[in-house]
């Protein structure tokens, strides 16, 4: 589930002007009577910018609260830090952490303050509410926007070659053949940053659940496997098929995420399978080219069920160790983030990669074309949450396995089987029944 954490890592790469955490929100402690709370989030530079903007907006409205920003590393390292601090009762008063399956690993019932009864909970997108809940209780408010997984494509290239946005895998492959014939790399892959290799499998989940609505449940109960479910195996097969057809960019093994974004924005590659949290980073990777990039859902077999796979934002949680005045202040901060002012503060600090998970928030008109393309799927109801939000189990080695399949080191069937083993380990670790 490094993908969700890569969410943060995705938006990133932007704004290299790192603000040091120490310099933030450090108003004097002398302002007597102020409640001071600490907010812990990841240290990605653009995320820190968003955090600063949200804190400033919150403090402007709540003059009696002083929010101190604290940062932690991104990815698994940061996850471990949060877990360790929670286990020792040493975590910040309010903190940002993954939603979905990774949240379950924090044992929310024992460690977090439930906020089910709060007014803002009613405004939450239902899917988001589900991924910050455990048992019957809700625990978090959304940090950032909902993003979609699929394919970035170069719009000028599509116009030049007269291509249509594909709704089936066959149409996608036909487009690739034409792009290749035009001397452009059809599909960009960037295995130097391994998490990017998983998109073709993970973003294919809408197609899996469209064909088999109960896959997530059966998968959680150890009744459905990637290797033996044709629609689930398809993601791995797509990787294998594209590699065998020679559709990757030449430097796929050493290319980095930013190079991938650049390639699809300037048109040295036709497609780049990615999640729309990459939209803000597009502008850094290829300045001025954001409007040349469109987005479509990963095509499956059935054009009538074409739709997008969604990733929910991470959550803002309050640990049980926060009490008294700090608890009240932390709850106000948490509620502010789920309010239109909170969304606006967020959007003012960094470009957004998709719709907000709060019904009362609206997207600014200036969003990138790729985000508009994504919103069209969401508005049409052609969208499903990614598997990691429907099931607590995601194998940790998927990114290495997809690199192997995409590089031709391992076959698709073998890769899917190996991933099933990986999933089994995770399920046993989580103590899920039936494994």
């Amino acid at each position: 589930m490094r993908l969700v954490t890569a969410l943060a890592a995705g938006t990133l790469s932007l704004a290299l002007s790192a603000c040091s955490a120490g310099s933030l929100g450090s108003s004097d402690d002398e302002g007597g009577g102020k409640t001071e709370i600490t907010f812990l989030t990841n240290n990605d530079p653009s995320n820190v910018k968003v955090a600063e903007a949200v804190i400033a907006a919150f403090e402007a409205k709540n003059t009696d609260v002083d929010v101190k920003l604290d940062t932690r590393p991104q990815g698994s390292e940061g996850d471990n830090l949060v877990k360790t601090r929670l286990a020792t009762g040493d975590v910040a008063d309010v903190f940002e952490y993954n939603s979905g399956s990774l949240l379950q690993a924090l044992a929310p019932q024992t460690n977090l303050t439930p906020v089910t009864g709060e007014a803002w909970v009613g405004d939450l997108d239902p899917t988001f509410k589900q991924v910050v809940s455990a048992g019957a209780d809700v625990y978090g408010s959304p940090w950032g926007a909902i993003v979609g997984g699929g394919v970035f494509y170069n719009k000028p290239l599509y116009t030049r070659l007269g291509l249509q946005v594909p709704k089936t895998w066959a149409a996608f492959m036909a487009n690739n053949a034409k792009i290749k014939a035009a001397g452009v790399a059809p599909v960009e892959q960037t295995y130097s940053e391994t998490w990017t290799s998983q998109i073709l499998v993970l973003a294919d989940f809408h197609n899996v659940s469209a064909a088999q609505p109960d896959f997530a449940e059966k998968y959680t109960n150890n009744q459905a496997k990637f290797a033996t479910t044709p629609q689930a195996l398809a993601g791995f097969q797509h990787l294998e098929e594209l590699k065998k057809a020679g559709y990757w960019n030449d430097d796929y093994a050493s290319a980095k995420y930013n190079e991938g974004l650049n390639a699809v924005a300037v048109g040295t590659a036709g497609h780049y399978p990615m999640i729309t949290f990459g939209v803000p980073a597009l502008d850094t990777a290829a300045p001025g080219k954001v409007n040349d990039v469109g987005f479509f859902a990963l095509p499956g077999d059935d054009a009538s069920r074409n739709g997008v796979t969604l990733w929910e934002p991470s959550g803002i949680y309050i640990p049980k160790s926060t009490e008294g005045g700090e608890l009240t202040a932390a709850k106000r901060f948490q509620a502010f983030i789920a309010s239109p002012e909170g969304c606006a503060a967020n959007a003012s600090a960094a470009p957004v990669g998709g719709p907000f998970a709060v019904k009362t928030c609206t997207l600014p008109d200036t969003v990138a074309p790729a985000v508009k393309d994504l919103s069209a799927y969401v508005d049409a109801g052609a969208a499903s949450p990614a598997l990691e939000f429907l099931s607590p189990i995601k194998g940790p080695a998927l990114e290495q396995i997809t690199v192997e399949v995409g590089s031709g080191i391992r076959s698709a069937a073998d890769g899917a089987k190996l991933y099933d083993e990986d999933v089994k380990k995770q399920a046993q670790q989580l103590g899920i029944k039936g494994w």
Binding site: N80, Y191, P396, Q400, S407, R410, L418, Q428
Partner: protein, 308 residues
């Protein structure tokens, strides 16, 4: 010089702690003198080690743990990445250790010879040892880039198409091993230099008198008499190679895929994934593996050194 001096020196060289063990002596300190050291040892080393063995028998989430007996070990040995990881670990340790012995010896012979700027050259050979491993890894990651890296661009100039190094599944592990050798060979060289310099000059003189050429002097004087140095280099670099992690993680993260995964990186990834019990079991296995390979080797060399 009498004939006795070299023999004495030689026997001093071969002195090993095991060959004349000091008699059990009464400690000159009262027992309470041992308390502070003993306390620190117990709290920071003994207790965590024992706990590690215990936690390797549990499914552990930091918040709670469930005793599952030897399941972690069973799981660890079933791990698909393990078999290849184990093999990579052994290949890596053998390659780095072997090259360090050969190159370290060659460099030491050069640097103890009559060459210009010897002191400077000795320092230069040792410099890489002092540089941060992560820094070395990241630098070489740039140098070894398949198209933009200096190494392949230089090879291009002389008409050779270099491999893709770190991103080529067949080359990744070897590439990291070569960088490891570059970084670590300085230490081997220093050990060898000490070994060579402690060989009395009379042996070389005598060999010369008997008409031995440079090769014979190296083969029959330097090599056998520098054997204690060889043993140290082999043992140190084997242990270092088997538990190598930082360089591999900085350069390839075990990739592409699992092609440069070694034991230590397999264990680290399990920690990252939150499989705390499983990875603790992995560390216990790694510990036993290092002991299982190094101890017999140590005994073997020591036995061979003690022919009298």
């Amino acid at each position: 010089m009498t004939a006795i001096a070299p023999a004495e020196t030689a026997s001093r060289l071969e002195d090993q702690p095991g060959s004349d063990r000091p008699k059990a002596q009464k400690s000159p300190y009262p027992y309470w003198f041992l308390v502070p050291g003993g306390l620190i040892f117990t709290i920071f080393f003994l207790v965590p080690s024992v706990m590690a063995f215990y936690f390797s028998l549990t499914r552990w989430t930091l918040f709670d743990q469930e005793f599952i007996g030897l399941d972690n070990y069973v799981q660890f040995f079933r791990e698909p990445a393990l078999a290849s990881g184990l093999w990579h670990t052994i290949v890596y340790a053998a390659v780095t250790s072997g090259l360090k012995v050969v190159l370290g010896m060659a460099l030491a012979v050069l640097l103890t010879g009559p060459i210009l700027g010897r002191g400077f050259m000795r320092s230069v050979a040792f410099f890489p040892v002092l540089v941060s491993t992560i820094g070395v890894g990241l630098t070489f990651q740039v140098l070894m880039h398949p198209t933009k890296g200096v190494i392949n661009q230089a090879l291009d100039l002389i008409g050779i198409t270099g491999p893709a190094w770190l991103v080529d599944p067949d080359w990744a592990l070897l590439s990291v091993a070569l960088v490891d050798v570059w970084q670590g060979v300085g230490l081997a060289t220093v050990i060898y230099m000490a070994g060579i310099l402690s060989i009395p000059g009379e042996y070389f003189e005598a060999a010369k008198m008997d008409g031995a050429g440079p090769w014979h002097r190296f083969r029959h004087v330097t090599l056998p008499l520098a054997k204690p140095a060889t043993v140290s280099v082999i043992i140190l670099s084997l242990i270092g190679g088997m538990r190598k992690f930082d360089l591999i993680w900085a350069m390839t993260k075990g990739g592409p895929g699992f092609t440069s995964d070694v034991m230590a990186s397999v264990v680290y990834k399990q920690y990252q994934a939150g499989f705390y019990g499983l990875s603790t079991a992995g560390n216990v296995v790694l510990f036993l593996l290092v002991i299982g390979i190094v101890l017999p080797l140590f005994w073997f060399f020591n036995r061979k050194e003690d022919p009298r």
